[in-house]
């Protein structure tokens, strides 16, 4: 049984408020044979400058330190890739550092930038992430990803990360999903939802108009997971610029407040020891006393069915910001939907629903832009950009893309970014005839979850309009 000390559970404190001034991202794709990584990073930074009506050169003059994230040097075959990008962005001789936390790299990168500003070290910091996943064939890419598992205890077993990951899906599917057809259908609905939303996003490369049947009939990857349950493998870049209050308002009239919490858990999924479930602000003691009775086999926490790192990251950031009930206090979220089933698992870890009841977030219609049951706006829409399943998973960029997407909703600029005919053309993509504005009307607060593999690292970021904070600083 693992126990945490009070000191470890201390709510993180930032010495001064931090703001997100702007964000940007490149186009995303499975491969870009004619684009170098730096071209994608420059595309992202230029978009961030455009967003606040600046030239890149003007924006760069504010940047004091730079944080770069990409998951694997192996993919780009370039050690110190961060230094290459820093040079190409023309940011020498500023201090810079690389960040690597697997799938959570994007979130961790901005975690570093936020702390630099919160501490007073920098007044303006750049967080930029990317991934180059097209420089090796898919099977070698799978081998490289498997190297992010334990190299002695897991990697030799098939060199396939899915094998180490999907055992968690199996356990959740049987214990909490009870292997029911209705649960399988909910998983498929997530794939339909996220791929459908991605169709409205010119940056996305996985948009599809599909049905639940298409997902259920797609090839088995590792039962119960099928091809359409799984996220994309992508190339692209995304960035965010964070500032103190004074600098933020010099850059834009409309910066957003930003907070972040981070958690971790063992790289080896099998190596998890039991513990008591850490409770979130909307959970009462005793809530889970009968969890094992309701879901036989579900009494082991975090077992194989939950992500402790996501729970801890949420615990920190909710308490930092005054979020009590995320469904009540937030307007829009971006979750790390690596697989449809892990998306459901994370609904519980971040407190959208209690453990064991994640499916209800989809079944209730809360997760949709427009609730399919009522035709009214969804209570807390998720992954309107398409998520990892529909938009992209260019690993080091993903967490930063999510933050940009939540920003666009709160800035009320979603349609500008996603509806622009010129952008669709520039990216060589056809804007669908039934293109729909997915702006969440009146969005003031949002959450993003950036998550690594079996849950080794997770960051939870909260963005809020500064006039709509939940608690005083």
């Amino acid at each position: 049984m693992i126990k945490f000390s009070d000191k470890q559970l201390k709510i993180p404190k930032m010495a001064r408020p931090v703001y997100l001034a702007t964000s940007g991202m490149s186009r995303f794709g499975r491969a870009f044979p004619t684009l170098r990584t730096e071209e994608l990073c420059i595309e992202a930074l230029t978009e961030a400058a455009d967003f606040i009506k600046m030239t890149p050169a003007e924006l760069k003059r504010y940047i004091h330190t730079a944080y770069y994230g990409h998951f694997a040097d192996h993919f780009g075959d370039q050690l110190l890739g961060e230094a290459v990008i820093h040079d190409r962005l023309g940011l020498d001789p500023l201090g810079t550092i690389g960040v690597k936390t697997g799938g959570a790299t994007g979130g961790s990168t901005i975690w570093e930038a936020i702390k630099a500003v919160a501490s007073g070290y920098s007044d303006c910091a750049l967080a930029m992430g990317w991934e180059r996943m097209d420089e090796v064939p898919t099977d070698e890419g799978n081998h490289l990803i498997s190297c992010a598992a334990d190299k002695d205890w897991e990697t030799p077993l098939g060199h396939i990360y899915t094998g180490y990951y999907a055992v968690m899906a199996q356990r959740y599917w049987q214990i909490f999903g009870k292997a029911e057809d209705s649960f399988r259908k909910i998983m498929a609905e997530i794939a339909v939802k996220n791929r459908g939303y991605a169709r409205m996003n010119p940056h996305a490369h996985g948009g599809m108009k599909i049905t639940v049947e298409d997902v259920i009939n797609s090839p088995v990857v590792a039962y119960p997971l099928r091809a359409l349950d799984c996220c994309l493998m992508s190339v692209g870049a995304a960035c965010g610029v964070v500032c103190d209050e004074k600098t933020a308002y010099e850059l834009t009239d409309n910066p957003l407040r930003i907070w972040i919490g981070a958690g971790s858990h063992t790289l080896r999924v099998a190596d998890r020891r039991d513990m008591k479930i850490p409770l979130l602000p909307n959970e009462e003691p005793g809530l889970y006393d009968d969890l094992g009775k309701r879901f036989p086999g579900g009494d082991r926490y975090p077992g194989f069915s939950s992500f402790l790192a996501a729970r801890i990251a949420s615990y920190y950031v909710y308490n930092m910001t005054g979020v009590v009930d995320p469904c009540e206090d937030l307007d829009v979220i971006e979750l790390h939907d690596a697989f449809t089933i892990s998306d459901i698992q994370s609904y519980e870890d971040v407190g959208l629903r209690p453990y064991g009841e994640g499916r209800d977030y989809i079944e209730s219609g809360d997760a949709y832009h427009t609730n399919p049951k009522t035709g009214k706006p969804g209570r807390l829409p998720s992954n309107l950009c398409g998520g990892l399943i529909g938009c992209m998973h260019a690993v080091g960029a993903t967490g930063l893309m999510q933050i940009a997407e939540i920003g666009y909703h709160i800035w009320n600029r979603w349609a500008d970014i996603h509806g622009d005919e010129k952008k669709w053309k520039k990216f060589g993509r056809e804007k669908p005839k039934d293109w729909t504005d997915l702006q969440v009307k009146g969005a003031k607060r949002g959450l993003t979850i950036s998550h690594a593999g079996v849950g080794s690292h997770v960051t939870a970021t909260i963005l809020m309009h500064p006039n709509h904070l939940l608690k005083e600083d």
Binding site: P33, D77, D152, G158, H159, I160, T162, R273, D274, F304
Partner: protein, 197 residues
């Protein structure tokens, strides 16, 4: 494949690695042209062999070749985790950071191993040498505080199914692939080549 003589091999003399054979193979790079026949890139062939120390875990991997499953246990009377048995093997207790005691849990595994979760996949990454489909299983044991990642060599996995370990003793690879699992009651003749109970 390299010839038997070319395979990179390493020995240790006076605390240093001595290498013999080929540790990389040089292959020329080739150009990549786009749809219009214009140069857009280059291939960079790379073939390397790493030299890796098992350190304090070496006893675990060596024991597999002898048909034994070794775990480790914290025996520090002052530690909250005293008596915790770790499998995967941990050299140090993650709580008190004192060196764990190496213990043999082959019998516990034979008597109590049970499938906690599993997954069957036709997919694999480059360099895979396991037979497909791979039946990944996670094995829980009585009195062990963690779970073990492995693969099933005979039959179809089910949560809660009792399994026993088998070991690649006849031609060990000295990797985690030297331990596999079969359902209780499997006969010696059903085991894959080079494996014994």
């Amino acid at each position: 494949m390299k010839s038997e003589n070319d395979i990179g091999r390493v020995s240790v003399k006076n605390g240093r690695y001595k290498i013999k054979g080929k540790f990389h193979i040089i292959e020329p790079n080739t150009p990549i042209f786009d749809d219009n026949g214009k140069l857009c890139g280059i291939t960079n062939p790379r073939d390397m062999t790493y030299i890796h120390s098992y350190g304090g875990e070496a006893i675990f991997f060596e024991s597999l070749s002898k048909g034994k499953l070794m775990a480790s246990r914290c025996d520090n009377p002052k530690c909250d985790s005293k008596d915790s048995i770790f499998m995967p093997f941990r050299i140090y207790c993650p709580d008190c950071l004192r060196k764990n005691t190496v213990i043999d849990i082959t019998d516990i595994a034979k008597k109590t191993a049970m499938i906690h979760s599993f997954i069957i996949t036709e997919r694999s990454g480059a360099f895979n040498t396991l037979k497909k489909p791979i039946k990944f299983i996670n094995v829980e044991f009585e009195d062990v505080c963690t779970i073990f990642m492995g693969y099933l060599s005979v039959g179809e996995p089910k949560i809660g199914m009792r399994v026993v370990p088998i070991f690649q003793t006849k031609k060990p690879t000295y990797t985690i692939m030297d331990i596999s699992w079969v359902p209780v009651g499997t006969s010696e003749s059903e085991l894959p080549d080079n494996f014994t109970f």
